[in-house]
């Protein structure tokens, strides 16, 4: 061994070492708050949500703070909420899905038409709807993962295909609520109401809540969830680290297709009827992406929590109902919602910054 090597001898003998520690400078209430924000990123949209509720509550009084209005918000966001859960999954993988809304509408049409056109039992028709959704998701996933096409383009194309197929297949005929109610009430299952005082919860709302919680658990606490984040963070690194990127992406896209079909079923519950021209087909994608981004999930993938997306959907819902109830003119409402979208994210950024 040569001379110059010997300086390494110093480190050859091991000493007792402990992990470095410094005084924690951020004690007290602010320190805790600070730490909580770091540990739970979805806290920020939650704060924005609570503030929005407070402001409208003060302006509109008990008309707004009634159990009726509060649960009405949940009912009004249930479709977007379910779609936002699906969209979150895709965005976490650094993708984007423009076809979610159209898929939901097509699936609801399949559920309806399979029952009324082909006389399938409603349960089977609902299952077929789920299958169609999952298949569409699988097609998206395969194009993204195997053919390496950009998700934006794949789902843009799929959006148009699904929407046009939906119009063509249904001949644009609405199945009326009255018919469904008498002949296939199961289709409206998710519209069942649980009334507690003035508060009204539908099964669709319950489904949304359960879905969000289950997905939050899966993303946080299972290997699959970790893989979803890793793939979104850096797919190349994930592949080298031994994640089966293809399988992860396929599972995400198929699950998303399935959730979209659920959203389609929720739509039947909420509107009673099956309508191929439901606007969700056209603007469901932008609505769900808005919720996701307001909820703090990065469009570049790998960062954010699905709870955040849910709060994002609620934030928009609160703004919309609040503004409508204050009687703002529709264009002013749109304009204000535009302002508030930007403001919500500004507040989010600001909170993150002062507590960084």
């Amino acid at each position: 061994m040569t001379d110059a090597d010997r300086f390494e001898d110093v480190v050859k003998t091991r000493r007792e070492e402990s992990f470095a520690e410094f005084d924690d400078q951020h004690r007290g209430l602010f320190g805790r708050f600070h730490h909580a924000l770091h540990a739970t990123p979805s806290l920020v949209p939650l704060i924005v949500l609570v503030s929005a509720l407070a402001v409208f509550g003060i302006v509109l009084g008990e008309k707004f703070f009634s159990p009726f209005a509060m649960t009405l918000i949940l009912q009004q966001v249930q479709i977007v909420g379910v779609l936002a859960a699906a969209q979150s999954l895709i965005i976490l993988t650094a993708g984007i899905d423009l076809s979610v809304g159209a898929t939901a509408v097509l699936c609801s049409v399949v559920m309806g038409q399979f029952t009324f056109r082909y006389g399938l039992p409603p349960v089977a028709a609902v299952a077929c709807g789920m299958a169609v959704g999952t298949l569409i998701g699988a097609a998206n996933g395969w194009l993204v993962s195997r053919m390496k096409l950009p998700p934006f383009i794949v789902t843009l194309g799929m959006w148009q295909i699904v929407l046009a197929a939906n119009y063509l297949y249904s001949s644009n005929e609405t199945i009326r609520a009255q018919e469904i109610e008498t002949e296939a009430p199961f289709l409206q299952f998710l519209g069942l109401k649980l009334q507690v005082g003035g508060a009204t919860l539908t099964l669709g709302v319950v489904l949304m809540l359960v879905l969000v919680l289950v997905l939050a658990y899966a993303l946080r606490s299972t290997a699959w969830g970790r893989h979803v984040y890793a793939v979104g963070d850096d797919p190349e690194a994930a592949k080298l680290a031994g994640v089966n990127v293809h399988r992860t992406l396929m599972s995400v896209y198929m699950l998303v297709g399935f959730i979209c079909a659920l959203a389609g079923w929720v739509m039947i519950g909420r509107f009673g009827s099956v309508s191929p021209s439901a606007t969700t087909g056209v603007i469901g994608n932008i609505q769900s992406i808005t919720a996701v981004v307001i909820g703090g999930i990065s469009l570049f993938g790998g960062r954010g929590s699905i709870l955040g997306a849910f709060f994002g959907a609620l934030i928009v819902g609160v703004f919309e109902l609040g503004l409508r109830m204050s009687g703002a003119d529709p264009q002013w409402t749109y304009l204000l919602i535009g302002v508030l979208i930007i403001a919500a994210v500004t507040v989010d950024q600001w909170i993150r910054k002062v507590t960084a």
Binding site: Q75, F271, A278, T279, Y334
Partner: protein, 316 residues
Amino acid sequence: ADISACLITKTDTNPFFVKMREGAEAKAKELGIALNSYAGKVDGDNEAQVSAVETCIANGAKGILITASSTSAIVPSLEQARAAGILVIALDTPLDPIEAADMTFATDNFRAGELIGRWAAAKLGADAADAKIAMLDLDVSQPTVGVLRDQGFLTGFGIDVKDPGRWGDEDDPRVVGHDVTQGNEEGGRKAMENLLAQDPFINVVYTINEPAAAGAYEALRSIGRENDVLVVSVDGGCPGVQNVADGVIGATSQQYPLLMASKGIEAVKAWAEDGVKPQATEGKDFFDTGVTLITDEPVDGVDSITSQEGLALCWG
């Protein structure tokens, strides 16, 4: 004001609805009624209308005036509203079923189409047998207004429409094709160009509304065919009637949104104060606010007024 009412339109990006709202607002002010207006984001936006109805219930409105985007899908929400003691009036577009509203104040859209169809056929005379027709419709989702006017036009022109519930299924060779316009100038021009590329000898153009007609005219003008093609339309807005006067549009069916709106507001007031509901036009299941053909080249067998007269009645 302790009486409050809601006006829910399909969108508020269409001058038709803008004027309807202005009419309603003016009347509401006059009668001391508080009016909240709502609109969908795009044509066909049922979701936004459902949310609007729910908001009106939460706000304790006395009456809802609605031009439904989806005539049947909105019905369950309106039933809720009626159950809460709210008077529901359909404007412009009848609900499906029509009894889902307490009353309907509307144009007969099929008839509006039929009038311009008959006018165009009469104008061509014998040449109608080998006309080449371009159909510039609203949207691929085939909203009901668009279907009614399209099918009305074809019927008036003497073409078998097959299923009257949808456009595009007829097999008459005189129809060159359908394209969609979104009801504005931009879409009108592109749709016209597309159909002209398919068959440059088109000589009759049906358009869903007057902005689409203006766009189609620009496309015709750019290839120098603006003088030998008949363009017909529906609406009777002031720019549209002016276009009839200028020879851009051959004939248009005029409707009366301000009338619908003011009638609606009056009905709400009557309901809130005296509990009475409005009556339908004799012999119809709705209150027909009327439709009039406007053209400066009248033909036999179809009643019409001139653009000069039309300008006095136009809206927007």
